[in-house]
């Protein structure tokens, strides 16, 4: 079944909004995605009819709310092909998921003399939690460099992984759009006895995900980038690792017993879900997963490849040397996230002119300052496309950039 763009767009109420009489051109989905009726309705319906506490009370309303909450976990597990639903942990966001891994796994596995490997294209969320742990425990952080095309330079990977305990990397760069060879990287990590931690924030919303085919150990991703609500994030972890780790946050729900002299942890996944959880958000996320599954993630990816090819062609064709697009020109190794420098106009100023045309792009460092330094830029403009974006919107982007050039050349 092909991607029916006009019916998809009709599912997203915000896309019908007019600002100053002009349509919204939302090109910031790498930042956060818009939400379909299915998600909005599932959340308001749940709030109106079924809201209650989860996993702690015996009455029917509470049992129904628990079913809805745990049902979302089953849906997410199926969506990424997890072996078991309890390998899915609900968190606040993907940042918390990565902090959970760095702290809970790191506290029993990393100490002075150890090393972990990250890459130069990581989001701050996959850098800072490790740096915080390294400051406490004194292990070394090594970095996989990049090629001129913005791909990971794997020439020295074996040397970097030698003696390392973990390789933690993004499946897709939030700046360059680069899609990394996740399965190969997981295999390389395992060959050196390291675990593989995957930041799936930018890839899971945009293409099929199979954590078992990847043979990863942990995958962090977020709901709000995959048409679900904000306020809930996800961590998939290999059961044996999750079992072996100490808890992350302590409190209610994550224990099986508490005495004056100590406590026993609950079983998975409750062990990692302290306190009242984002119940309504989980229900919305479940609806988001249903929505994406019905569209088909292969269709989503195919649509975005077509948009990427067209956007790269049009931007380069129209602006030539006035635009410098970061990352690979090959749409088969990149997602529909396109960062660029435009003439010598500062990204903030580009974004300001684009906003006059209701074109929403991100201008800034994209929470990837080490990568920005590598690119020699303080900031870039980033246009990121998703399942609801159209060819016409690429034209609007180009026209608005044309006006930016005129405005700042005067």
């Amino acid at each position: 079944m092909a991607h029916d763009l006009s019916s998809v767009r009709a599912d997203f109420p915000v896309l019908a909004e007019l600002i100053d009489g002009k349509p919204l051109v939302y090109l910031d989905s790498a930042n956060t995605s818009q939400k379909p009726h299915a998600v909005i309705d599932a959340m308001s319906c749940f709030l109106e009819h079924s809201y209650g506490p989860t996993n702690r009370s015996a009455y029917r309303l509470a049992a129904d709310a628990t079913d809805a909450y745990e049902g979302a976990r089953v849906k997410v597990a199926r969506f990424v092909n997890a072996a078991k639903p309890h390998e899915i942990v609900f968190t606040k966001n993907a940042t918390e998921s990565l902090n959970l891994v760095a702290r809970a796994w790191g506290s029993t596995n990393l100490s002075s003399g150890d090393a972990i490997v990250l890459t130069h294209m990581e989001h701050h969320a996959n850098i800072v939690p490790w740096q915080m742990m390294a400051a406490e425990r004194g292990f070394e952080i090594r970095w996989v460099p990049l090629t001129a095309d913005g791909l990971l330079d794997l020439t020295d990977l074996d040397r970097l992984l030698d003696g390392a305990k973990a390789l933690s990397f993004t499946a897709m760069s939030n700046v360059l759009g680069t899609i990394n060879p996740v399965r190969e990287l997981c295999a390389a990590a395992h060959a050196h006895g390291a675990i593989a931690v995957v930041d799936g924030c930018q890839s899971v919303p945009h293409m099929p995900t199979d954590v078992r085919e990847w043979d990863a150990d942990f995958v962090a991703f977020s709901s709000h980038k995959m048409v679900g609500p904000s306020g809930i994030g996800l961590l998939w972890g290999r059961e044996s690792l999750l079992e072996s780790m100490p808890p992350f946050l302590g409190g209610g729900s994550m224990i099986s017993d508490v005495r004056l002299d100590g406590f026993e942890c609950a079983e998975l996944p409750a062990k990692f879900e302290a306190g009242t959880q984002p119940i309504v958000e989980a229900v919305g996320l479940g609806a988001a997963v249903d929505y994406l599954s019905a569209l088909g993630m292969d269709n989503v990816r195919a649509h975005e490849v077509a948009l990427t090819v067209e956007a790269l062609d049009k931007l380069k064709g129209r602006f030539g040397d006035d635009i410098e697009i970061h990352g690979s020109p090959d749409a088969s190794v990149r997602g529909a996230t396109i960062s660029f420098a435009f003439r010598d106009v500062h990204p903030h100023d580009v974004s300001q002119v684009l906003d006059q045309h209701n074109v929403c792009v991100r201008a800034g460092h994209h929470c990837a300052k080490p990568l920005m330094r590598l690119l020699g830029a303080n900031a870039t403009v980033r246009a990121s496309f998703y399942l609801y974006n159209t060819s016409d919107e690429i034209d609007t982007l180009c026209d608005a950039l044309g006006e930016t050039a005129e405005f700042f050349s005067a």
Partner: protein, 145 residues
């Protein structure tokens, strides 16, 4: 929505394209670094104070048209002024940017001159941080005297 011309007044673009007082100063000049974490803009302000007056000022770093032009105009405005006059101007400028201050209200009779051109920034609240970056950095540098 306010138009681009409200934000990008001609004099702003002139200061952006031809920034005044670029460079750096060695000790005994004082300096401070400022960052706009939102957009990654970075600026460094150097001030040489002699006999209670700003004898020289230099700006380095990079940023958007608003942060750079604001820095450039600021550098032109403060040269030769006493530190007290500079502090009054900072306070007056922050007031124009709708930033609430503790303590006594700023003296609105302090002349802003070309800086008035940045008034339009207030209509674009996201950009206020860009406009005040140099000013906050200047205040920090002066606190090092």
């Amino acid at each position: 929505m306010p138009g681009l011309e409200d934000l990008y007044r001609e004099i702003i673009l002139d200061h952006y394209k031809n920034p005044r007082n670029r460079g750096h100063l060695d000790a005994p000049a004082v300096s401070a670094k400022g960052h706009n974490p939102l957009c990654g803009d970075e600026i460094e302000v150097f001030v040489l104070v002699e006999d209670g007056r700003v004898a020289d000022v230099r700006i380095s770093g990079q940023g958007c048209s608003i942060s750079q032009s604001s820095a450039s105009m600021m550098s032109a405005a403060i040269k030769g002024k006493t530190v007290e006059e500079v502090r009054a101007l900072v306070s007056r400028f922050r007031h124009m940017m709708s930033i609430e201050e503790e303590g006594p209200a700023p003296d609105t009779t302090v002349a802003l001159g070309d800086l008035e051109a940045l008034q339009g920034v207030v209509k674009f609240p996201v950009r206020i941080k860009c406009a005040v970056l140099a000013w906050n950095t200047l205040t920090e540098a002066l606190s090092n005297t």
